[in-house]
Amino acid sequence: MLEVSDLHVRLGGAHILQGVSFSVAAGGVTAMMGRNGVGKTTTLKALLGLVPSTGSARIMGQEVRGWPTHRIAQLGVGYVPEEREIFTRLTVAENLRLAEAGLSGDYPRVYSLFPELQERGRQAAGTLSGGQQQMLAIARVLLRVRPLLLVDEPTKGLAPKLVGEVVEVLAQLSSSATILLVEQNVHVVRRLAQRVLVLDHGEVVHEGPADELSDENLARRLVGVSGPE
């Protein structure tokens, strides 16, 4: 599904990604972990062409490095950014309509997962709570069939109850899409992921099954973070 080889990103004089290489097989959830600032978000942005990069990134067999972002997304890549990045001045319904990208959207699926979004269709998205904004950010990528989802810290800043809801939704999605999940919360990763990649100083320093994280000492050594159940 995804093969990344020797990916480098330099931004403003900083060498942020220093030869990231990994692959993700089709299906399931692969978690990308690591301390703050090691390049996890930058890796996702580089895969989407949102930051300039060198090296190779193949998605579904196609070399996409150098492609414009919209073309990569049209390949079937969905992106749920760390800061949600919903369009705050548009209504909820307009945010969803935009995400249809000219095709008819799968609204029944979205509204069955997030019934609240249907009720709040006319509300300005900027007035939603943090949890509702996260639901909208996830809902946007569900309107179309997207075999690969890049999901960046979807539980960040959410109340524990909402973390559980988001995890449930992602677990459901993982049966129909491949998810590359950037996540700092070890418990969320344990719940969702089958494989784990650990980044440090702009490179992948560890790859392995997610089960390894059940060893608290190893998890702390590899990732340096933990989180609430």
Partner: protein
């Protein structure tokens, strides 16, 4: 009272012309963060295209039809040169603001020089229907017909843009793109098409402003530098209204147009006609001091 109403009406018409120019500038900056100094050239090209059309149509074409066709050609000419500018000059320079400023300033200089070289420095007269040069009695007032046309055009463009941005799919893309163009692209939308469309819309409005400004305020004369003088006031309108805000531009255009006309007239009777332009700059300074992001703009 009669004079005050006449000046107010003239100020509104001037505001409408400013809005036609400023709306495109504001949308272009709002979506693309491009300070387009070639916008005045779009306006001038539109005016010259109208003049060439109006003076070359067969004599059998009536004056009103001649003028209408000239206006349509002005709009198309503005749209075409603006679209071509975006594709050929701006697109390769995304996220390079200094280069964009240099290339648009350069384009403006080239267009003015070309027009001077081809048509000379003399102003050229656009034939207009006699009705347009006349006036209409409204109650006790007699108001110029050309002002009605300018106001109608400004209102129509404002309403058209409001509908487009609120209901059309590309309008939605433009509104979203003003907020976060990377995320629009990440949804699989070719935001660059929206960029081109915004330039085309802005150029069309500028072309319309070019011919209407000639008819309403310049004695139906077109000149190679008319775009540059209007562009300065249009930039002031955009900054006062708030970069990227259509309604802000509309409000600021009316304020600037009316203030300029009031001050020009009342100070002009005391021999200080230039105070009209100075008052606009003072208004800009006051707005920037009180509200740096403009009347309806958002802090960036």
């Amino acid at each position: 009272m009669s004079t005050f109403i006449a000046i107010s009406f003239s100020g509104l018409a001037l505001g409408a012309i400013y809005f036609l120019v400023a709306s495109g500038l504001s949308l272009i900056y709002g979506l693309m963060e491009v300070l387009n100094f070639a916008h005045g050239a779009f306006l001038t090209v539109g005016a010259y295209a109208a003049w060439v059309t109006a003076t070359h149509l067969p004599a059998s074409v009536s004056a009103p039809e001649r003028f209408l066709v000239a206006v349509v050609v002005a709009v198309l000419a503005g749209a075409v040169i603006a679209g071509a500018t975006e594709v050929a000059l701006i697109r390769p320079l995304y996220r390079r603001p200094v280069s964009q400023i240099l290339v648009t300033v350069g384009l403006d200089l080239v267009v003015v020089a070309l027009l001077l070289g081809v048509f000379g420095s003399n102003s050229q007269a656009v034939p207009v229907p006699s009705w347009l040069a006349g006036a209409t009695r409204v109650g006790p007032e007699i108001l110029p017909n050309a002002d009605f046309v300018a106001l109608g055009a400004g209102a129509a463009v404002l309403l058209g843009l409001v509908w487009f941005l609120g209901h059309a799919r590309y309008g939605l893309i433009i509104r979203a793109g003003v907020e976060n163009r990377d995320m629009v692209a990440a949804l699989g939308i070719n935001v660059r098409r929206a960029f081109t469309l915004v330039f085309v819309i802005g150029g069309a409005a500028a072309g319309l402003a070019g011919i209407l400004n000639s008819v309403v305020f310049s004695g139906a004369l077109v000149s190679p530098t008319q775009g540059d003088s209007l562009l300065i006031f249009a930039f002031i309108v955009v900054v006062i209204g708030g970069l990227g805000s259509l309604w802000g531009s509309a409000l600021a255009a009316v304020m600037v147009g009316m203030l300029q006309d009031y001050v020009s007239f009342y100070a002009g009777t005391g021999g200080l006609a230039q105070m009209g332009s100075i008052s606009v700059v003072l208004l800009l300074a006051v707005v920037l001091l009180v509200r740096p992001s403009g009347l309806m703009g958002e802090a960036r």
